[in-house]
């Protein structure tokens, strides 16, 4: 079968299944009492949590299907490891949603579950850098690769604070990876993982975003946000789009990096005395407390208080901008590719 047809079928399939599965998972979570308050709304409605389990599971299943359709044995190995790591991340996310992991334990465990990347070594440790071309940094590459899943999944988790902020921005980033895979010259295995992985992730995310967008009827929970971030990190490694996706994820990285540095490391939520924003009658105001964490939302409301939907639109604009920068980066990489 033509590979382009496989990508398209993967996209349509994950979109439809995710769209059908999400309300079912939401109903289940509501039945077992897994609901949370949407604190940014005036009436603070109860919304089913951990519903991201549905779409991320659909994505893992699509990776399983991709294993049988992959054109090379290397692509099959990469998809198998992706599936394994994502499955482990889902378990970590579920545990965090239902039992809660500490601020240090969570990234620590995510580093451990991403060890198969280093153990099986089916990635190509020669990233292509803009202006330079491919560089062989074998040892450094594997050291950095160990932390990629932990960094991207936590970054995605930290941006999941407003209705549709994580899911909407992840759709843009996954689509950017798909577009970039046509710009950056890639080998057959990397090409398949990048295109199939990014397009099926986009489909699964759109099916979920429809219910998660403002005003949200479902929340992704840590299961969804950690899984999405891990999926993007793994597409970056196995699709050889490392540098492009770093640029596309700049808003996510900026948010998590500023939170961590402003509170002086990984800290428990209850230990952070001052909140970055204050919600009054559905309007979000910035905190003026110098000790409050610097978050993206605080930066966005610093000049003028805004409603949740306005902030989400601003985040979409920012991520759209970094996705454009990522596409420019892809062209810079293309210029020096062998």
């Amino acid at each position: 079968m033509n590979l382009e047809v496989i990508y398209l079928l993967g996209f349509v399939g994950t979109l439809l299944i995710s769209f059908l599965v999400t309300p079912l998972v939401a109903r289940f979570m509501k039945r077992i009492g897994k609901v949370g308050r949407d604190i940014h709304k005036v009436n603070m409605p109860e919304v089913p949590e951990s519903v991201g389990l549905g779409y991320i599971f659909v994505f893992v299943l699509s990776i399983g299907v991709g294993y049988f359709l992959a054109p090379t044995s290397l692509a099959k190995s990469r998809l198998a490891i992706m599936g394994l790591i994502l499955f482990l991340v889902i378990i970590v996310g579920l545990y965090d949603d239902f039992k809660t992991l500490s601020a240090i334990m969570k990234p620590g465990i995510l580093v451990i579950v991403s060890l198969p990347v280093v153990i099986f070594q089916v990635a190509d440790p020669k990233p292509i850098l803009p202006f330079i071309g491919p560089v062989r940094i074998t040892l450094v590459y594997w050291v950095v690769a160990t932390f990629v899943v932990a960094i991207t999944s936590n970054a995605s988790n930290m941006l999941d604070v407003l209705n549709g902020s994580m899911s909407g921005t992840s759709i843009m980033i996954a689509l950017t990876a798909f577009i970039a895979s046509y710009i950056v010259p890639l080998d057959t295995s990397s090409q398949f993982v990048a295109r199939y992985g990014s397009l099926t992730l986009t489909g699964a995310l759109i099916g979920f975003w429809w219910f998660n967008r403002y005003p949200a009827k479902v929340f992704a929970g840590d299961t969804g946000s950690l899984g999405t971030g891990a999926a993007l990190g793994l597409i970056a490694i196995y699709g050889k789009l490392e540098f492009v996706l770093i640029v596309a994820l700049l808003v996510h990285i900026m948010n998590s990096f500023s939170i961590i540095t402003s509170i002086g490391g990984l800290r428990e939520r209850r230990d952070i005395k001052s909140r970055p924003v204050i919600v009054k009658d559905g309007v979000i105001h910035a905190s003026t407390d110098p000790k409050a964490p610097i978050t993206l939302v605080r930066l966005l409301v610093a000049r003028k208080s805004k409603t949740e939907d306005q902030i989400v639109k601003d985040i979409y604009i920012l991520v759209f901008y970094t996705c454009l920068l990522a596409i420019i980066t892809a062209f810079l990489i293309r210029g020096v590719s062998p």
Binding site: I132, L250, V251, I294, L299, L318, L325
Partner: protein, 87 residues
């Protein structure tokens, strides 16, 4: 509307600066990573590798420090412009 665009433009400026610095950093670090010459002794190769990794690490730390500084500056500036906190 204009204010909204202006607010976003300051964050977009941070992102653009961070991206340009990242490209520059990439160029410098990439240029340092050259093929190791065979005539060097094993110790020299190891030392050269360590120096390159340390230098790259320092450059990345500087990049991150500038990034934090830009964010703090922008937040302080934006808060000053907020009419709610005028007094």
């Amino acid at each position: 509307m204009m204010e909204r665009i202006m607010n976003l433009s300051s964050i977009n400026s941070i992102l653009t600066s961070v991206w340009l610095m990242l490209l520059g950093l990439c160029g410098i670090i990439g240029a340092m990573i050259v093929e190791i010459e065979i005539q060097h002794s094993y110790v020299a190769i190891i030392l050269e590798g360590i120096v390159k990794v340390v230098a790259s690490f320092i450059l990345i730390i500087i990049w991150l420090a500038i990034w934090i500084h830009l964010m703090k500056m922008t937040l302080a500036h934006e808060l000053k412009l907020n009419p709610e906190f005028a007094d």
